[in-house]
Subunit: 181 residues, 2 copies
């Protein structure tokens, strides 16, 4: 089975974490991680444009096959939710305009996939990412979170594919085994 | 004084209203209005990409000089605020990537500029827009709201320019009069 490149994204207006890994069957390999940092100066529109260009360059550099984005946590004040929403719209747009499939995962499912519990701390996530993906730079916590999104998608994309194939195939078991590599 | 083209935008994930008008001194002239409607089918990323392409085509067709966007009302449930935020991020991004200046106005100020009171109803706004801008199509209320944003910006951009010039000029009064046309 061919290697697939996954890009994980953790959106924010000031700092958007990103992480790229390769998945081949059950094997994960770290490729790159970092953040797109946008200074708080200038108008909101300018900041969104800078975020867009930063992410566009990440996508052009790493050419992922699939993209996974953390679902935004909305249980905070409305002004913050709106800000984050604006950044998140731009973050999801970049891969969508490149015709890449974009998947969304809740923070709870991401933590559960990586650490084993939905209530893991940021430090636990980063520690686990270092264990799963030796070579991760993780200069910032946001990059660890982004790699965690990619790991979560790596775990779930097989199941997604199996479900889709089961709907079209008379022998889902056989084909599913192939997809799962 | 040269004619300036203003694009007003009223963002939404399903329906984004847009309206273009020309301003020359105190005179306003309707140019075009409409909506970018995005069907609720497909993933969020796909929908944001369709919204982006729809607005991009409006900007390319009408080539505005300045863009004004309605500030989003956040006093509702967090999930709606997030959705609207995502659409709004994309809506503001389109002119920003085209290097156009983007201004934001609160719904209250927009209504006050157009109708005279911040508590005007949607119908009152549409009626006033029809009076101010004969020729407006206004097939949908969202287009009237977008033209209202543009009208609001037309009223306030002179004051903005005066304030900016006052900061750099030893004779702000003289220059301000020129700017106001």
């Amino acid at each position: 089975m061919a290697e697939i490149k996954l890009l994980g994204l953790d959106p924010g207006l000031r700092i958007t974490g990103w992480g790229v890994l390769a998945v081949n069957g059950n094997r994960l390999r770290h490729i790159a991680d970092g953040v797109v940092a946008v200074a708080a100066s200038g108008t909101l529109a300018d900041r969104l444009a800078r975020l867009y260009r930063g992410l566009e360059s990440v996508v052009e550099t790493h050419m992922p096959d699939e993209v996974a984005v953390e679902e935004t946590f909305v249980n905070r004040n409305a002004a913050s939710t709106l800000k984050l929403g604006q950044a998140r719209g731009v973050v999801m747009l970049v891969p969508a305009l490149a015709s890449l499939p974009v998947f969304e995962y809740s923070a709870n499912l991401i933590k559960k996939s990586v650490v084993g519990t939905g209530h893991a701390t940021k430090d636990q996530v980063a520690m686990m990412i270092r264990t799963l993906l030796p070579g991760a730079r993780l200069e910032r916590a946001d990059a660890a979170d982004a790699l965690a999104v990619a790991v979560c998608h790596a775990h779930h994309r097989g199941a997604l594919a199996r479900r889709l194939l089961a709907e079209v195939s008379p022998r889902p078991g056989k084909i599913a085994a192939k997809v799962a590599g």
